[in-house]
Chain length 407, copies 2
């Protein structure tokens, strides 16, 4: 007998029939003797529908009221889920964010969970009931409804699992787990049985969309084992857990890629102290997140450097406009932009103890004639920026070079 | 400068455009210097849509979860209303039942308000904001969401007006006020400027559907002046207020009718103590509400009586089945039923101090050849049961006899 938290996303509860299937699944686990806490998202499309109404009212809707509006989506899901359980004669009780005492800060639309008081949930479990908690929502210290932003229901589930010291937090989704790379890019992609939190974080931040990084960070902080699996299948998915020795034996766990970035170079920047701050302070102030930065001696000669970095592609135009002003101000030559780039990365905790990994990566790309434009590394990751058109080729070359199709 | 509570029903907030119009209307009052508290219902059709989903899940859905489900309707309305205010640059803040601290008992689906703590509403008003409270919903003492049943948003509005000591509670609806009788039945029907709580209660319970009796009772108890008016018009409607001398000067204020009842007679009931209890106890136990009761000597002779009474037409079949069993048990002759009846009533606080009102009523009906089947009276009301086919004729005759078209 265990305490389990199961989370079902919007596509898993997208219709009354699907909600019934979720109820069946949860009830089966309950009947095996487990205490079940279920976290549900809004029915697929509902959050967007409500956001659409808000934007029809006013172009920049007050985030407090938007949260009041969109939090109804999860409220509908949990109530219908409990009724589906009732149809099977099984007692279930819904709890909204304020009832499950999910306390957050007051950043509407992207609030962070501060605390969860589990007493009411435990009381319901002790009465033998299934507890259905509305995901994605909480209450700030002054009693306002907040929502947690993208992937918020995952965060609710992980936070509940941590607070309840659950055996496992199962995240049911529309993919069957975490793969060595995107199966749409390489047919040899293999589902991983296990992956460490850190690897998962790198994979997620590099564009492998299974879970938002925030929920993985939360799980890592509190040591919550996560099981990512398909909502329409009984097959086990991927466990996201603490790193262990077997993981280190493998040098590389996965190949990730991202086409969401653009590259910008400011040429012939005067090589004086404070120049980097002059360039990047206005960029950060505009809310633009910079990923890689490289500075090298300019072709223009001594006393000048070229500064190259990447920004999210959605912020590219804004960044270019800002930088043209900055370049003039600091006496740099010009600003060059390139949207046609991609980032491919290899991730693995085994890298820490293995030499020659980077060399092997560069060689694999070189063999396919792929030019590397930028390189960045962390302890368990190596990323290369390349021309966008080579993305899929690079992913396959790296997957094959590190033999990721083999267990 | 006054504190006003305004309530808008489902048809008044049935679309984004209508919500914008409601916001315009509230903002105008706000700009005149009033503190505005607005109570909103769910958008027209939304509550029924949600109830439909619940019933698709299970035929007799758990009322606790139904309340969680359907209370989302008002939540959506208040959020959208606040965004509509924001579009005009006016600050508005939504409060749900639990945030406005509307404490109720735990009778899901038909909860009664026990208490309202107005501190949070007053705090928001002091900050110069319009406060939009979700109608129809509250929270029980254990923190469960409850709803107040039919006309629940009216009750929320009246209860808030009482708790806030508001100058007036304006109920915006799709009729322009309370009429001397149904304008669809008699073209001479006249909108009343004022009506007393007690008259309104009698009118409402007799089938004049403007407000549910519960909210009028609440207003009477706390002396809250109610202004019933049309949401699409600037015309004043009808004030529901304490009785005063001008009202007493008029003998009759209105003519009401109801076609929702049926008549049942149990013939030749042994004339012994305890017979009435034997007949009516099982009926009450089955949740059937009896209105009029008449007992008279049976045509069968001494030692036997006929007992006649009315029940809601929806309970007619159930009552007949029950009574056939009872009749046999107590040795009565038979059970006669008649669904083809109607009740017409005259209502007015002036009756208390005027003689001959009943006589005038009976004469007016007799003049049209309408046979009276049953009569019942209260201090401010006389009701006659007649054959259903004469309903409209009777209403017009009574309206004319008491000259209700004249102010």
């Amino acid at each position: 007998m265990a305490l389990m938290v199961q989370k079902f996303g919007g596509t898993s509860v997208g219709s009354l029939d699907l909600i019934r299937k979720v109820a069946d699944r949860v009830i089966r686990r309950k009947r095996e003797g487990n205490d079940m806490v279920v976290v549900l998202s809004a029915m697929a499309g509902e959050t967007d529908r409500l956001l659409g109404l808000a934007r029809q009212m006013t172009p920049m809707p007050d985030p407090r009221e938007v949260d009041v509006l969109i939090s109804t989506g999860e409220q509908v899901s949990v109530a219908l889920f409990c009724l589906a359980c009732q149809a099977h004669g099984v007692e279930a009780r819904s709890l909204l964010g304020f009832q499950a005492k999910v306390v957050t800060d007051d950043l509407y639309g992207k609030a962070q969970i501060i605390d969860i008081d589990t007493s009411r949930i435990l009381d319901q479990l002790n009465r033998g009931r299934i507890v259905a908690v509305a995901g994605f929502q909480g209450l700030d210290m002054r009693g306002n409804i907040t929502t947690l932003g993208r992937g918020g229901s995952d965060t609710t589930a992980v936070a509940l699992a941590a607070a309840l010291k659950a055996q496992v937090c199962e995240i049911f989704t529309d993919v069957s787990g975490v793969f060595t790379t995107d199966p749409n890019v390489h047919h040899k992609a293999r589902k991983l049985e296990r992956i460490s939190y850190e690897e998962m974080l790198e994979m997620a931040s590099l564009g492998a969309k299974v879970m938002e990084t925030r929920s993985v960070e939360f799980a890592m902080k509190y040591g919550v084992p996560i099981h990512v699996r398909h909502s329409q299948s009984e097959e086990p998915g991927t466990m996201i857990v603490e790193e262990d020795e077997t993981m280190e034996a493998k040098i590389v766990s996965g190949v990730a890629y991202s086409k969401n970035e653009a590259r910008i170079t400011v040429t012939k920047v005067p090589d004086q102290p404070g120049m980097a701050a002059k360039i990047f302070t206005p960029i950060s102030a505009a809310g633009i997140v910079i990923d890689m930065i490289i500075q090298n001696t300019s072709a223009g000669g001594p006393g000048q450097t070229d500064v190259t970095f990447t920004v999210p592609r959605t912020d590219f135009e804004k960044a270019m406009t800002l930088l043209r002003g900055i370049a003039e101000e600091i006496g740099a030559e010009k600003v060059l932009g390139d949207e046609g780039i991609a980032k491919v990365s290899i991730v693995g905790v085994g890298m820490r103890s293995h030499a020659g990994v980077a060399t092997k990566m560069f060689a694999a790309l070189a063999k396919e004639g792929i030019n590397i434009r930028m390189i960045s590394t962390s302890e368990i990751k190596i990323s290369c920026v390349i021309s966008e058109k080579y993305t899929e080729l690079a992913v396959r070359a790296l997957h094959d070079a590190f033999e990721l199709d083999k267990n």
